[in-house]
Amino acid sequence: MNIVVLVKQVPDTWSERKLTDADHTLDRESADAVLDEINERAVEEALLLKEAHGGEVTVIAMGPGRATDAIRKALSMGADKAVHVSDDALHGSDVIATAKVLAKAIGTVEGFDLVIAGNEATDGRAGAIPAILAEILGLPQVTQLRKVTVEGTTVKGERETEEGVAHLEASLPAIVSVTEKINEPRYPSFKGIMAAKKKPVTTLTVADLGVDAGEVGLGGAWSGVIEASPKPPRSAGQRIDDEGVGGSKIAEYLVGQKLI
């Protein structure tokens, strides 16, 4: 099986995340950058499928130069090779431009059977890339999965929602997205870390992919951020003194907030 995993480098969720004053894009310098955890899980799932069915795992990342760290992490976990789309023109790209570029990059991987993405990146949180990609590439999409199996030329998956569990399937090639319930990602072994350096990484520009630079980046974005201000500090919570009926007062509050 020939598997492609889409991996994104994001600011560490533990560090403070900010927008730049200049153009209201994510300030990537201000925070530690890591391979998004949901993508570690996507890589893990690809490796498990490879272990079961054989084949090759290619990771694709679109991001600035330092995204090589995220790529190397995926390679150290066991992916075989990588495609890194890196181009200054991409700065400020929206979800549609990102999907267009990724679609072209996926096209450079000959004979892929399955594309695995995370359901939602922890920074942008659009949660739309897998679906848009399926549309552009004309492939079936099986999204939001907590379980993935491949039988012959069929990919099967379980999607958990509030209403229940849906059992989905599609014929390969297909695009799947996985949720954080999918698995526990492995730690890179020392040998994996040492081997990652020698694995092939193809770096491509927008022009290499035949994408018009005017369609991507801040200029090509369909929406723009005009103004941003930090979230106001949390207001003091509601206090309930327990005079024997504290429990039911808390329950009332939670019902009011539709939490129970």
Binding site: R72, Y187, M194
Partner: protein, 381 residues
């Protein structure tokens, strides 16, 4: 050796991976194992499987083919994540190194694959009741008897005897110090735990050798190269002990700084009082200097410069021992009453933070070494 103050991408990736693994277990895991009288077997096994414990074992025996600098990074990151492991100082650092460098082919085949995966653990025994800092006075003897060796004497403060397959014992033969591999189930060997006030799953033991008979291949390497072999193992030991200490120091300092940033009793964070800020800053400097010296010692050792590595390793061990004692002391002080509460995980580091001033070589003996070897001063003892 060229000077390079940034670690390689691979070393940094190794640190990040070990830190992730270590933080999943956390200090609570380490402390709960210690208090229940259990071992950190799960963490050890998982680190072993991932090749973190065998980073420095040669590749041909299934190891990572890295250096002591890599192993020291593993030890430091685990300590920083709250699981300071003494056996890392002993088993993969001293024992695996000595066998890899001086063992016979058969010994390498027998032991190194297990060190590579962490499935083999070996303790190291040099300290004796009447020969602590003075290893010239060792009373443990080994003599040939036909095809066999006979070992007699005793050791104390030996870490981990209850959880290892064998102990690498330093004993005097007719030609000088010899290194003997002694299985823990051999007839004539008895050992007893010493009650310690250290919160650690790893225990210390007294060992007695009552005419223990060992096969002829129990001797590591050759009989007359004992001293050189011993020193080859002691440099990694010091580098590892320093890393054990800097890891623990960084943990304490991180916690102290975090608390000083957030705790406020006069309307401003306590970290805004210079009475706390300056000692913390001094400690941060001390810790970083110790780390740089440790990395220098590791780089020299990995470059094959045993002699230069010896001086640096001693200096690093000294600096790291002082840094960790200061850092844990300060972290407790910064936390006020919370510093001694179980929840904050600092009291549990207190006695462990003093190990590094005493073992594997005391700070006074390092000062003696530097006085004599670096400064060429007369010896007083």
């Amino acid at each position: 050796m060229s000077i390079n103050f940034t670690e390689s991408d691979e070393r940094r990736a190794l640190r990040a991976a070990v830190a992730d693994l270590g933080s999943r277990y956390g200090h609570e895991y380490f402390v709960s194992k210690a208090r229940a009288g259990e071992k950190t077997d799960e963490l050890w096994a998982e680190a072993g499987k991932l090749g973190y414990l065998g980073v420095a074992v040669p590749e041909e025996y299934g190891g990572g083919g890295g250096g002591i600098g890599d192993l020291a990074a593993v030890c430091e990151e685990l300590a920083r994540a709250g699981s300071p492991m003494l056996l890392m100082v002993v088993s993969p650092a001293i024992c695996a190194t000595v066998i890899a460098r001086f063992g016979t082919d058969a010994q390498k085949q027998r032991w190194l694959p297990g060190f590579a995966e962490g499935t083999t653990k070996m303790a190291f025994a040099i300290t004796e009741p009447d020969a602590g800092s003075n290893s010239h006075r060792l009373a443990t003897r080994v003599r040939r008897d036909g095809d066999e060796w006979v070992l007699s004497g005793g050791k104390y403060y030996i870490s981990g005897v209850d959880e290892v397959q064998a102990v690498l014992v330093v004993a005097f033969s007719e030609t000088g110090p010899a290194l003997m591999i002694v299985p823990t189930d051999v007839a004539g060997l008895t050992y007893r735990p010493i009650e310690m006030d250290i919160v650690s799953p790893e225990k210390q033991f007294t060992m007695f050798f009552d005419d223990v008979r060992l096969p002829s291949d129990a001797l590591v390497g050759s009989e007359d190269a004992g001293l050189a072999q011993l020193f080859a193992g002691l440099n990694p030991e010091r580098i590892m002990a320093a890393s054990f200490a800097t890891g623990m120091a960084r943990r304490a300092l991180d916690k102290a700084a975090e608390y000083a940033r957030t705790r406020s009793v006069w309307g401003a964070p306590i970290g805004s009082h210079q009475g706390l800020a300056h000692p913390l800053a001094q400690c941060a400097i001390q810790v970083e200097l110790a780390r740089v010296m440790t990395q220098k010692a590791a780089a020299l050792y990995d470059a094959g410069q045993d002699k230069a590595a010896g001086e640096s390793a001693n200096m690093a061990k000294y600096a790291a021992g002082e840094a960790v004692a200061t850092a844990v002391d300060l972290a407790i002080q910064v936390h006020g009453g919370n510093g001694l509460a179980t929840e904050y995980g600092l009291g549990s580091l207190l006695s462990a933070s003093r190990i590094s001033r005493i073992a594997p070589v005391s700070r006074e003996m390092i000062l003696n070494y530097v006085a004599q070897h670096t400064l060429n001063l007369p010896r007083s003892y």
